[in-house]
């Protein structure tokens, strides 16, 4: 069963320098608070894995915590570019960033393969595009029909970090609303940390609820509003204003660093 811990203890225990860290949450339930704690603890050389790097990874890349990014769509949805990610890729600031990119279907199936403990997943796609020359994908022939297909390697992160609405005291987790790929990420990873809006005595079944048993999770930490500025269905709404504001905060290095110092790193030295 999962240990109920504070966020700082859980991050200290589960996330190490150089780890491959998957942080999922598709449009909602993005684990921002946990990401910020990883930055406050000064983790470095991370391989950050996430289908949609979004504002969270823009912050972590800009802070210099990442060595490599594994992803499929790196934009600020409805707003524009991720300026910190672009600065790292285009100018190597604050550090060069190795990229491994896939399509969404490729990433989703890589997680499914990881969760299934299979070495790879098979799908249609990639063929005829420039992607195979720049990423890990191999062409193969279906042994039954002869159809040309592609295989993508399984994702096996060292640790998966997600946010959910609720957990009980045994660490059983329930999330609902857009389910994304969080269950797959947790089951694909060697270790896992789930932050939740609240701890409850008993989980109450929700329409479309996804339950992850506590014995498949290492640690659960209660972090109300831990997905802000994304949201937690039935708890909060997406702060579209902040997503728009991020464009201005992140555009210039100095402004970003000031934001990081004042909004994230506060108290970091005391830890």
């Amino acid at each position: 069963m999962a240990r109920v811990a504070t966020l700082s203890d859980a991050v200290a225990e589960l996330v190490g320098d150089g780890d491959a860290v998957a942080m999922e949450g598709f449009t909602q339930l993005i684990p921002f608070a946990a990401g910020h704690e990883i930055l406050r603890q000064g983790r470095r050389e991370l391989e950050l894995i996430r289908m949609t790097p979004d504002v969270l990874f823009d912050q972590m890349i800009g802070a210099g915590a990442a060595r490599k990014l594994v992803f499929s769509y790196g934009g600020n949805p409805g707003v524009g570019s991720l300026h910190r990610m672009r600065d790292a890729v285009e100018h190597g600031w604050p550090a060069p960033l190795e990229l491994e990119e896939h399509s969404h279907a490729g990433m989703a199936n890589r997680y499914v393969a990881g969760a299934s403990n299979m070495p790879c997943a098979i799908l249609r796609g990639y063929l005829g595009t420039d992607l195979p020359a720049h990423t890990q994908v191999r062409e193969l022939e279906c042994p039954f029909t002869g159809e040309r297909l592609v295989a993508v390697p399984a994702l096996a992160p060292d640790v998966a970090v997600i946010h959910a609405q609720e957990a009980d005291r045994a660490g059983n987790v329930q999330l609902w609303g857009i389910p994304g790929v969080q269950k797959e990420a947790v089951l694909a990873a060697a270790r896992s940390l789930v932050t939740v809006e609240r701890l409850v005595d008993e989980l109450e079944p929700r329409p479309g609820g996804v339950i992850i048993p506590g014995w498949a999770i290492d640690a659960v930490a209660e972090v109300p509003n831990g997905a802000w500025p994304s949201y937690a269905h039935d708890f909060s709404v997406r702060d579209n204003g902040f997503y728009r504001q991020w464009d201005e905060i992140s555009r210039e290095r100095e402004r970003f660093q000031e934001w990081l110092r004042e909004q994230v790193m506060v108290g970091a030295a005391a830890r």
Binding site: S72, G74, P77, H102, S103, Y126, G128, I178, E184
Partner: protein
């Protein structure tokens, strides 16, 4: 630079969905067009977003594909692997609206980089769902602004083999030639001339011998569009 009309582009894209059962959409103009189509032409149209929301019924234009309203109003909300493996790949969603930073004369798309891959001038967001959406959905319609930056002779990176049935821009409509598959200007929006479209295209543009005009936006279309954007 162009005297094009984004409004007319949205209205013309929406009309394409009048007899369609389901459409796959991202954010921005494609989403606006699909919501407009549902409001004006086709109340039974199923809107499907990459976030896993199937049959969403938004009353306003969402900023992100995961805005809460999409999940709250959807017939079903599914995981990302289910969306791609059970719904998109088998071709259950009839039409896909796609955008891109670059489009070539056959409707192939680049949303990855401008410049060389290893030292890009501009790093774009990347593939997202587009390659497998284009592969799975029976019909692809591309929606893009018309400029020489977008319509290029040679893509900097081939992200998506799209083979669209139409490319709808703010100047007019391009459709593939039935024999060569090359995109051909087949219709102009009101007030636009063919030379203007040629000048805004980075490759030598084929023009249909009988060039149509898109029907100007009706009062009903404009009213519904204004209402959607005001909410």
């Amino acid at each position: 630079m162009s005297a094009g009309s984004g409004e007319q582009q949205t209205v013309v894209a929406a009309r394409r969905l009048a007899d369609v059962a389901s459409v796959f959409i991202g954010v921005g103009r494609p989403s606006t067009a699909a919501i407009l189509a549902r409001a004006v032409h086709n109340p039974d149209l199923h809107l499907v977003y990459e976030s896993g929301t199937i049959g969403a019924k938004p009353r306003r234009v969402p900023l992100s594909i995961g805005d809460g309203e999409l999940a709250e109003t959807a017939d079903a909300v599914v995981s990302v692997p289910e969306m791609f493996n059970y719904w998109i790949a088998p071709g259950r969603i009839e039409v896909a609206f796609l955008g891109a930073a670059q489009v070539d004369r056959f409707g192939n798309l680049n949303s990855t980089v401008i410049g060389p891959y290893d030292s890009p001038r501009t790093r774009l967001p990347g593939a997202g769902g587009a390659p497998e959406i284009a592969l799975g959905c029976p019909e692809v319609i591309v929606i893009a602004p018309h400029s020489t930056r977008t319509f290029v002779e040679q893509l900097d990176f081939l992200t998506t083999v799209a083979a669209p049935t139409a490319v709808i821009t703010d100047l007019g409509v391009l459709e593939p030639d039935p024999e060569t598959a090359e995109l051909t200007l087949t219709a102009l929006h009101p007030g636009v001339e063919a030379d203007q479209v040629r000048a805004a295209t980075g490759f030598e543009l084929a023009v249909a011998p009988e060039l149509a005009r898109t029907e100007p936006a009706s009062a009903a279309e404009l009213g519904a569009l204004a209402e959607l954007l005001a909410r």
